[in-house]
Point group: C2
């Protein structure tokens, strides 16, 4: 395990607040060990730092009450969505109150004519899309896990569709949030664009709950495309596949998804999802548009792929085949774990300019080989973002140390290539040292903002800055 | 004229700083009356509040030196691009130093493979597009005026292409900025997405120079589409035109531009640009895509338009016809002024959810008629944003008062419709009262951020908050 630093605790304040909240929330305030453990971070190699209590509010006003109580007694508040974050975001290094937003899961409005909707933060993306389907609408951001939309906003999540539809920051019109003093604010309207003052919407998106708790989100929606088709194509090398991606993007093909699996990931997918793909680097694509449009997009891509030595190109509009392929992509995490049963998967998240992607992926493969680490790679390559999944025994100090060496080396490499240490997972506890290396003196101004809005550092302390 | 409040001056500090800068910048520090007047605001009805001096830096380091000198003596710093802003953004209500960035006009890098470029803030959008053309690339944001990219970033500008390509906030990867203490920072990398810490990029975009001076911009570029076509269609009413827009967007037609001209604007365009369009509400469209794609988009739109009573539908791929149509659209400001020679044009900028657009435009027409104001309307209707151009004699107190009444009434109407008082022009001095009405307690946190980053309020004081 990687040890996250514990921070000084305010025991008497915490005790007082738990008393107040117990009175107010009765059974919706829980202090049992297992529920507390569950609300400390579990999907990472960072050690669990459980909160002292977990509270389940059902309204913005209740969140405000909780925050006001915590603010009065300088007690940490840690917002919790579904717990799928990867960098220790929900850990409680100074203890405090985990605010579990899963009961704030109502879809408050769907404005089909305006292609927007208003949701509470506990709504998951799958719930939302199920709700929208009958109206011919969908919300495109898909980070893989069935995360809550509040959590996705807080980490500036993206995923496979971002190459076409952007990230959370591009698909949120406005937020309602409870600020560190308990005040409820709205950061935007339902207008599709605005130049009204500082962009507090984008400031809270990606702030990982360190500046306030998101209690309502106004999302942009999209019409379900008339036609959807998918394609796959094998390449002789990662380099060839990346060059094909670059040309496809430059050519303006509006691909909805363009994903890379390296040879090891393809092997894992073949075994887990009973496929028989050639075990060389693979691109998986999805096209959205009119009937004629998706055919044209697939043809254009096919021609480009051929130029770069692509083989076994296959495009399909069959829903079944498409689902099978994308299910395999979504299952990559589980498929990869099967390469080494019992191991834990630790995911990197660098994102580089697309012209540097081939070099970055190839270097990562060479480095893991050199360190003797098993590490399949998948990537949202249209954005230059890829994940190396390190399969390690987290109880083996030597492996952990090699994995840490690799993560640091890769983050530094990405930064040296004018890229970022995190394309979509966020900073949390795990990437704090790299934020400074990436953005240097800018971090000082982040700290100034944090200190101005949350002078007692009660909102998700120990994360980002 | 509308009187902007003057703020207390720090005369001795200003004098000292002018001395220091004169020594350092020689002829690049100007204090002549006409150049100072020119750098106070002129394209609005707000009175001119000239700075005490204008300085022309040529590098980020020079900007940093200027800001450090001003910070040391608590002297206001007002960044200046091309002076095309509309809400008094470049006025100097407390005097101080205007930092004219027009000599920082180099295109530092074009990374064609990554579809990005790095520019200094004084580069104008037309200069950039001229530079990019040979490489098959373009930068889509087009606010009409040939504004500087730094100014466009500072006001979160958009314009006709935003319905497809988004606004400045969606097309900037990262910024370099000089902060209020003179420190130079970078807010992002060239990665296409990132979850690394607070989004200082988006915080500075739209901050109108009140939190720092943008000294370098990394922009997203797009490939020039294989085919571009345009279309126009006349409608029996604003309502019918807006309904056609709504259906087009909902249907997922990826229109690049969809602009409304009301009957009065069409009349003005006919007279000024020697056209013979039917004098009823008109939609102008542009489609980007493949050869087949743009034909299909135009056909789909044509069918939708017909459903809503559209007539005289004409689509063309001829560059000449297209240019003529869009030139007429770009010349609307001048065409409108000809409706009342000698009058000044004062533009509103509300943006509402598209389902409320028809009602909002129709109400605006009725209200100007009631007040006896001549006011043609054009709109970026795909986004729900429109401009009423009030043609008034700014020396006539009664007209000014009626115009002020209208502006206030319209801003309040838009806010009541879950919209914003400013879609793209910004707050500046002119819209400060409406920011509070629109976002309420959120403004308190904007003030806290301002106070944290710029404790002496030297960066463009008197704007936004």
């Amino acid at each position: 395990m990687v040890q996250a630093t514990a921070l000084p605790r305010n025991d008497s304040g915490i005790e007082t607040v738990i008393g107040i909240l117990k009175q107010r929330f009765a059974d919706r305030l829980q202090t049992g060990e297992s529920i507390r453990q569950q609300h400390g971070h579990t999907t990472t190699w960072i050690n669990n730092q459980p909160p002292d209590a977990v509270v389940f509010p059902r309204s913005t006003e209740e969140v405000s009450e909780i925050v006001k109580a915590c603010a009065a007694h300088k007690v940490p508040v840690i917002p919790f969505g579904t717990g799928t974050s990867l960098e220790g975001h929900v850990n409680a290094p100074a203890g405090g109150i985990s605010v579990d937003l899963s009961q704030m899961n109502r879809i408050l409005a769907v404005n089909a004519e305006d292609l927007d909707c208003v949701v509470q933060p506990g709504v998951t993306r799958e719930d939302l899309n199920t709700h929208l389907r009958d109206q011919g609408l969908f919300f495109p951001i898909d980070p893989g896990a069935n995360a809550s939309l509040g959590g996705m906003a807080a980490t500036r999540a993206s995923g496979t569709n971002a190459v076409r539809y952007g990230t959370m920051k591009d698909n949120i019109l406005g937020l309602e949030a409870v600020m560190p003093d308990g005040q409820i604010i709205r950061t935007g309207t339902r207008a599709r664009k605005s130049s009204a003052g500082y962009d507090l919407t984008r400031l809270l998106i990606g702030a990982e709950g360190t500046l306030g708790i998101i209690t309502e989100i106004t999302l942009r929606l999209h019409g379900i495309p008339e036609a959807i088709s998918s394609a796959r194509c094998s390449f002789p090398s990662v380099d060839a596949a990346c060059r094909a991606v670059m040309m496809t993007i430059q050519y303006g093909v509006p691909v909805a998804r363009i994903e890379l699996l390296d040879e090891r990931s393809v092997g894992a997918a073949n075994a887990y999802s009973k496929l028989s793909l050639p075990e060389t680097p693979l691109l998986l694509l999805e096209f959205h548009g009119s009937e004629a449009g998706v055919v044209e997009q697939a043809e254009t891509f096919g021609a480009i792929a051929e130029e770069f030595g692509g083989t076994d190109f296959a495009a399909t509009t069959s829903t079944e085949e498409r689902s099978k392929l994308w299910q395999a992509r979504h299952d990559m995490y589980w498929a990869s774990l099967q390469l080494r049963p019992g191991a834990q998967g630790i995911s990197t998240d660098v994102c580089v300019p697309i012209s540097r992607l081939a070099e970055c992926v190839t270097s990562a493969q060479a480095k893991t080989a050199e360190l003797g680490l098993l590490a399949p790679i998948v990537g949202h390559v249209g954005d230059g973002n890829f994940h190396t999944l390190l399969l390690i025994d987290t109880e083996n100090a030597d492996e952990v140390s090699k994995a840490e060496e690799f993560v640091g080396w890769l983050n530094d490499l990405a930064i040296s290539m004018e890229g970022t240490c995190t394309g979509e997972h966020g900073i949390g506890q795990g990437k704090k040292p790299y934020l400074e290396r990436e953005l240097g003196p800018a971090v000082r101004y982040m700290r100034a903002i944090k200190a101005a809005l949350d002078p007692d550092d009660i909102m998700n302390p120990g994360k980002i800055v």
